[in-house]
Symmetry: D2
Subunit: 413 residues, 4 copies
């Protein structure tokens, strides 16, 4: 077959990223991990789930986010080496693999799934199981990456780059999500922040001239939370999808026929708990699920005989989403009763069923958590301060306050 043989040689693979430009794949190990079906699956799962109902450009995938975070890891490692840190070639690769795989366990519409089909199993746990499976397949290639991920690697700062309040995960997703949403205000000066990184006593620190960039990073993150991640319309759309999947599951468990892909059927017909993931089958099924199964099924359910299911699915597919009001005081129970009654009458459904068409969802976030891995500022004289002390603008009380909003969502008749 000489004529068709392709000499791959030692050509570097380059990926064209609209956010960071050319990203170089650093070697064959990384390339092989990128090619694994588990990673390829992330290319079929949107990073921001249902946000594209609000920001139609926000259809970028978890695959690209992982690659972007890997790029920032390369940059961070370069920077720390220039600052004098010894990072071996193997550890640098492991750090890249760790960040590449940090989200491997995400399912489609992750938060939704965790509230409907795989209740009580967090995607972080699934990530761990999937990494383990891949590591077995690759004959231990991921040992160091898994150490970094689980913070059992001897260089603690590598773990901090993967997971802390100033990790490359956040530095990528804030840039990337604001880019694809078109919300320029959420942009973060990732390159600048990385140029300010250093390590002191095995801990990541930011040089003091970077204070304003960190302040801006925290403010941008907060803005993205309220303007994108917790946008009331996205949250309401998620609730609608949760209700759809709950209803579908309850029908399936009651023996009513319901269409869908094999993988989706599996999760509709079984109550899945953590223990189930001990079997290969559950993880295999999970690995087959992506956004397309959900969308394809919901379109079919638009004509399902169950009225609740078909009403919700039609609304979802055709973007007749729940209306949302922000509650400043407790909801008026009499009005809610009236509302439910109107649903019952209009569609001839039970009171219990009317609860699929409205609800209250609380969302909250803080800007900075003093209990997590801190963001440390390094001064020229060698002293260290927590960002909440170093900043003259952001005081700790404001920063760590959990801001909460209560969304009342309902169907407009």
């Amino acid at each position: 077959m000489i004529v068709f043989k392709v000499t791959m040689g030692n050509k570097r693979k380059i990926i064209n990223d609209p956010v960071f430009g050319f990203i170089t794949i650093s070697g064959n190990n990384v390339l092989n991990v990128l090619q694994h079906p588990y990673m390829q699956r992330l290319g079929r799962i949107k990073q921001l789930g249902l946000s594209s109902f609000v920001y139609p450009g926000a259809v970028h995938t978890r695959f690209l986010h992982s690659i972007g975070a890997m790029y920032l890891m390369q940059e961070a490692i370069n920077q720390l080496r220039m600052q004098g840190q010894n990072i071996t070639h193997e550890d640098a690769e492991a750090a890249q693999l760790a960040i590449l795989l940090h989200d491997i366990g995400h399912g489609p519409f992750s938060h939704v799934l965790e509230n409907s089909l795989v209740e009580g199993v967090a995607h972080e746990e699934i990530s761990g199981w999937m990494m383990q499976r891949m590591n077995n397949e690759f004959g231990g290639l991921l040992n160091k990456a898994i150490d970094i991920f689980h913070n059992t690697h001897h260089q603690h700062f590598l773990h901090q780059l993967v997971s802390s309040q100033l990790d490359v995960d956040r530095l990528d997703y804030l840039c990337r999500d604001s880019f694809f949403c078109g919300v320029n205000e959420g942009t973060v000066a990732s390159a600048r922040i990385i140029k300010m990184l250093n390590v002191l006593n095995d801990n990541l620190v930011v040089e003091s001239k970077g204070i304003y960039s960190i302040e801006k990073f925290l403010v941008a993150r907060r803005l993205m939370y309220w303007q994108v991640y917790l946008h009331k319309t996205s949250v309401a759309a998620e609730q609608m999808l949760i209700n759809i999947l709950k209803r579908a599951k309850s029908l399936a468990m009651n023996g009513i026929q319901i269409q869908g892909s094999n993988a989706l059927q599996f999760f509709l017909h079984h109550d899945i708990t953590k223990e189930d993931f001990n079997t290969n089958q559950t993880l295999d099924m999970y690995a087959m699920l992506d956004d397309s199964d959900i969308w394809s099924a919901i379109k079919m359910w638009c004509t399902h005989p169950d009225k609740v299911l078909s009403l919700l699915c039609n609304a979802f597919i055709n973007r007749k989403l729940f209306k949302v009001k922000i509650l400043n005081e407790p909801v008026d129970v009499k009005k809610v009763a009236q509302l439910k009654l109107s649903y019952q009458k209009t569609w001839n459904i039970t009171e219990e069923e009317s609860d699929f068409f409205w609800g209250i969802q609380s969302v909250s976030t803080d800007t900075y958590s003093p209990s997590d891995d801190r963001i440390n500022i390094l001064y020229n004289d060698g002293t260290i301060k927590d960002i909440s002390d170093a900043s003259d603008m952001l005081n700790i009380n404001v920063l760590t306050k959990k801001v909460r909003k209560d969304y009342f969502y309902y169907t407009l008749l």
Copy 2:
């Protein structure tokens, strides 16, 4: 229900576009069309089909492209009005609706579908039928838009803005595709070009100082064709998908059970011709199809008993795409015979079946077509020249030359 009533008032709707920024929906008619299930469907169809295999950021939808083109239409109308053209409010709206709907008939992986499931029916025709259906639903609201689309409106230049060699469709997709691919070189100065537009004798013209921008537009378009639209890996991926769907259809037509959504099953089990679209059912089924049906089905077909189907589907899902070589001379038939034989032996398949794993695909494009609606340059003295005469760089021979490449694609064993 007073408490929950939402006064919509005359609030303008604004869409946040990462490419052009804020885009204003000009009124309720446009809003209603945007909300129509046919339009919403475009939000589930990627603009660039399988290009995300090569450019992982290129996952933007046909929905957003349509909105971007509508925005450029607004800008173009503003410009022409400033130049003194009379364009009524109704015609301006109709032009926006026409461009919004110009791609309404696209199916998932459009080109693929036209070569597998709905052979012999072009998406342009389907667009016409869908617009007609929508127009009936909206009680004639789209009459003028359809006139503009079909070039039966009395202002010819409005049709040219929708469909010509310098229409807002191209101005948007070149900007947008290059943005999401991260191929900055494909960017087109849409804003600048629009500022140079004028109308002479009911024909769109470009003022002479815009010559260099037009040259750059043509060069950028050509670059995007070879670097993105006709990228050998994308083309090969499309061929793989065509082969998958053809095989699936042939199995289905032979009575072999094959999984998939209702809509997909419909097209797998029927030979659809133009005439079939006279029935509402065919169009309804078509309108239910989107990218998710294809992906979801192919994942299931990975375990189908038919070896050809399952081999192709596994390769596709896990991005083990065909290898591609550009042929500079006719393919060596002996080598091909050897290749086919090796497939037959390896997988124990027939010779006929071995043809699913390789092929030759010719692609070609020109930069400028002298037979289509020309790009006319207007000089200060009132004379008009075709861009191919006006440009001192681009001579007509080069511009209109059809460049063709022959891709030989095959499976690497």
Copy 3:
């Protein structure tokens, strides 16, 4: 002269701005004002004075800033009209002229001049006098613009657009300065903020969904202050320039010959007070001054026999700027005495003269001033809150705190 006659027609003039793209000159009145020598002079004065010592891209002019602010004024007026405000054509033009002229009185290195050559005369006053002169020349054309500038126009919100804590001046300069400095973090979503503007009771308000954008605007402004406007190296360079001009003036006033342009000589040889501006000559001389006079003179002064002057000028021209330390405690007077002594010995100068080579400069800024024109947030229910109350992040104490830094600058021997 027929052959050379140029028909200007009613062609709109367009200016190409790297920050906002195409900016349209709205009519001949604006064009004439732009062509006035006073406006053209702003094209020879850098917006950021000596910041290019730190950010070498920051060489943009006050002329371009004025045009950018005019563009945002056009956008703001469009927005308010869409919100239902009546703004006449004349008032819209006047608002554009007002913002175009708002900085007309700036001299080269404005802050420097006010501390050396024209002590006790603020550029705002000079702006007023220059506008008056232009208005006389233009036969009253600027009456309304001057009313808006001085807040005597009946529509108060137009003045607020020119001058308040959320005026188009700030919206432009934050965008523009961050663009040319390459400090992306200072970027402000001007377009988005303008889309959120409304008017209530003749006061500019921001719709509540714009809160996060306003927070980001305030944070970005603060960042730009510390990272650019009050950067220690820029501040020290300004002090060096002040010392140069003070020394040159003292030499000139003592009858020592000193080279320089006529305009510069005028200000070196006279103690100029406000009253002097009553004469046309003073304003004429002022209008002839720009950055080039200062640079050209300092180069010549490098070889002046006065040691203090030539030392400072050489240091300035060749960017051997003062070193700067941020004082966290009062400066050590003994060490300063030592320092001065070393200057005296090294250069054989008097103690008094040694003070030209070091100093302490305090800089300070707040983020939001509760005593100025407030930033008001408008809620859907019609209520209004000050941004410091509306924001759950920015509390009033933090926002209004004057942050001060003391820079100790000195010459490194």
Copy 4:
């Protein structure tokens, strides 16, 4: 002086560039060269001379362009090392120094000066002399850089990076000039092109997949020539400045007093030839000249008793530039005679003097020069083709055609 001692340590210096982001100064040698008065002078000379009359953002300096080109040199060296080229640390530094200094001999409004004050001396020669002077000062530090500059270094491709048809000079200035002008169409994918570079037989080559980028590069360059560098208004402004300086020189040589800085006076009062640069004085005076001398003098000359000089200077300062028409046929001599007569009558000047107020200037450029260092395309099979053969769009006849335009410029009475 302990308290004020500043430990510089081995901190890397970083420059913030709005075009390329953070640029790292690679070491103390480069830093020292950057600090040299000759380099600092480039910070007072605009890259695009009078283009800011047309594009008001185009005020960036030659200093920043040199730094940008140095950055691209760093990138190119990284790329070639990854391709397997051996480039020593010393040679890499020398290449950076060579490109940093490649424009060191430019005077203010370079082209203008060469046509008025220092006739017959090209800036390239002056660059050579200045580098030599600097090399003497630095004790031979620049030996290798000068070798690369003059193409006497053993690695020819390093010279090609400094000076060829695809050098980092062009890659920077196309990006940078289009950025500051706001002419996005001129942007060049520098990063992408550099990723395609390789070396074959000591010659720079571009890998074949970069063909489209090279085509776009050539087209963008051509666009920038006609839209910016040879813009008729800029060219006419240059002619006005040439006439001003010629007139001023002729007055000075005739013993008429004329104001201006020492350095400018030197060149006004002497006929400078190449030989004069053998003396240190001439080079010293040249090194003192920058844009500020020209501007400051012209403002003073506005009131010079010589009518020709004052008329031209007033027009120049207040942007009443020559009008320009593109000649498509020889100018009508009778009309010109009429025009000159009208100038003579209006201003009471001689016929000879009337020639200062009009003229004809021919400008021309080609896109690609087949006689210079070629752009070579490397194919996967190891063959090399000239870009004019490799491209199927750009044929050699079109590419190498010198396009010429004749500008007739005159004063509108």
